[in-house]
Symmetry: C2
Subunit: 190 residues, 2 copies
Amino acid sequence: MRTVKTGGSNLDFALLGLLHQAARSGYDLRKAFTASPLAHFSDSPGAIYPALLRLRRRGWIEPEHVTPAGGRGRQPFRLTARGRRAFLAWLAAPPTRDEVVYDVDGLVLRFAFMSQALPVPALVRFQRAFRQEVQGYLVELDRFLRGAGGEMTPSGRLAFESGIEGFRGYVRWSRRAERRLTTGEGRSAP
Amino acid sequence: MRTVKTGGSNLDFALLGLLHQAARSGYDLRKAFTASPLAHFSDSPGAIYPALLRLRRRGWIEPEHVTPAGGRGRQPFRLTARGRRAFLAWLAAPPTRDEVVYDVDGLVLRFAFMSQALPVPALVRFQRAFRQEVQGYLVELDRFLRGAGGEMTPSGRLAFESGIEGFRGYVRWSRRAERRLTTGEGRSAP
DNA sequence: TAGTCCATGTAAGATGTTACATGATTCA
DNA sequence: TGAATCATGTAACATCTTACATGGACTA
């Protein structure tokens, strides 16, 4: 797993992001994951409960109520002050080239949670920096294609082009996102 | 890691794919990875050498020459007959919904290696099945958007749209791929 | 009270990351 | 011969997967 060192996996921050909205139990979180594209970042109990344990040990989340003695029932968690800080620090981190190359999904996840905690200008800044990095990487990819493109098999070349197209798509998306953020604000897709 | 049970990780098959072209040493493989988008599937010695060991233990690859006694030098590997069979089985596996959802990159990797081992009609079949699954998943995603789209924050919605756009991009790519495979055959991008 | 679902967890295994170790080769 | 770099690996650690375990609550 390409963990772009932020002090936690994408799953960790996805959980943090949901808990930032409202206190929830592990079961609730799991359901929220399963029923949404967040499932992409894992939705098995064997991943979520250990992740919650990690977050507790780090002091980023805590049980909402005093633990009911030898209780085994539903146990909602909420962010601690430190957890909130960690979440905000993650949100505010500028996108890097490494993240673009190895973990775009993580970047999109980050952006997904921004509206709940950061003002619009911060989101716009994110999109501009993101686009910058993606475009820089596209230059690399184009250079590679000009260099080694001749030796590729037909399907190899097509696969490579799929990657390029994907990143071009991110550039278009980013432009559209910035436009929507700065104008209509909450408008839906064209 | 979402390993869509095929009996090996994407890294394993990426290595197998390169060795299918020609015998190479771990060092060569690593260089090939580092210098290409295959790096996406990892390029650290700590991943590649253990992976080669696994492939050896499975009887999928073997040293090209008799091991030079207590040798520590360059050691090229080549596919065994079983390794070739495993590689072909992987290549020929039809794309599943699960792979589309959790491991598109693996599917593109698979397609990338197809030209070296399968005839064009097989590639066309792959693209059709792939498109079918992607379109099916797009229906799910659209349904989700209509259902939960109202409660999303602006950036949450944008992030979700990014996912949808990505898959639409795969559909377009797949159409173009099929066209190029069935007509011009080796033509470059428009 | 028996069965079913809710809810939390654990155990074993696979794979990847970072960082370091080590032996051979080459070249100044 | 000393330094760089080639080439292979290992150790410690983190995270995820699958599969199973467990206990409480609700309902027939």
